[in-house]
């Protein structure tokens, strides 16, 4: 069969970006980021079981600027993955397929994840007595 001038199926670049599309791709991206978070959590648990000296070292990494940025990013990834995961569960039940509701629910996941991330870090600093 000739491969010449045949029509190609449309790929990602022909679509206009929307919240529903961003949320779908971010679900995978945040899921992958959370795998890094799982490794860090394991490291932290091992450090806790190892003893106070090594634990202090690992806490020191977490307390550094880079450490906090990473943890902040993982918090956002977690909240975004949680929200869009719940949205997917509704879609698995056949809900949220109406275009407007679909887009609105996608936008709501961003509202939730941003507010929840800020809320968690605000509460954390409050508990530490920094704020």
């Amino acid at each position: 069969m000739s491969k010449g001038n045949r029509p190609l199926s449309p790929h990602l670049q022909v679509y206009r970006w929307g919240a529903h599309m961003a949320v779908s791709i971010l679900h995978r991206a945040t899921g992958s980021a959370l795998a890094v978070g799982a490794v860090l959590l394991t490291w932290w648990l091992v450090a806790l079981a190892t003893g106070h000296e090594y634990f202090a070292t690992v806490q020191g990494y977490a307390d550094s600027l880079i450490g906090r940025l990473v943890l902040f990013g993982i918090t956002f990834a977690l909240m975004q993955h949680l929200a869009s995961g719940v949205r997917h569960l509704f879609m698995d039940m056949g809900r949220l397929y109406d275009l407007k509701v679909n887009t609105l629910s996608a936008q709501m996941t961003f509202v939730f994840s941003i507010l929840a991330t800020i809320g968690v870090w605000y509460a954390g600093y409050k508990v530490m007595g920094v704020l």
């Binding site: 394991t42 079981a49 106070h52 202090a56 954390g124």
Partner: protein, 127 residues
């Protein structure tokens, strides 16, 4: 006509292992179980923010906390493995590399789970 296919080619021709539905379903079930577990983890980490080694150990030593953390690790790692498996299936096209990635993912997942759960148990039963 005689069958000219090798046994390996015959098996490959059968297609998928037909366990996609189970994979999909377990991914959702672990997702649902993750919701209350991750809320517990987040609330605990925020509530204990800034604490030192002794306080974290005392927190994790509580039987309910040890059990919930083990449940979280087991469920979360299972969910993670299923999700990353789909990523490998979708994006790694080379046959050998895909196979190696799958094995590596499984080994890494089991290692993460065992290291975490062993650490929790060591603290829970430690002096």
């Amino acid at each position: 006509m005689a069958d000219m296919k090798t046994p390996l080619a015959k098996v490959r021709g059968l297609g998928s292992a037909k366990d996609g539905t189970h994979h999909w379903l377990v991914h959702r079930i672990t997702a649902i179980a993750n919701i209350p577990l991750i809320l517990f983890v987040v609330v605990s980490f925020v509530g204990n923010a800034g604490k030192g080694h002794a306080e974290w150990v005392a927190w994790l030593k509580q039987p309910i906390v040890s059990v919930l953390m083990i449940l979280f690790i087991a469920n979360m790692v299972h969910h993670m493995r299923l999700g990353l498996q789909v990523l490998i299936e979708d994006y790694v096209h080379d046959h050998g590399l895909k196979f190696a990635s799958m094995i590596a993912l499984t080994f890494a997942s089991v290692l993460i789970a065992v290291l975490s759960i062993f650490s929790i148990l060591r603290i829970a039963f430690g002096g």
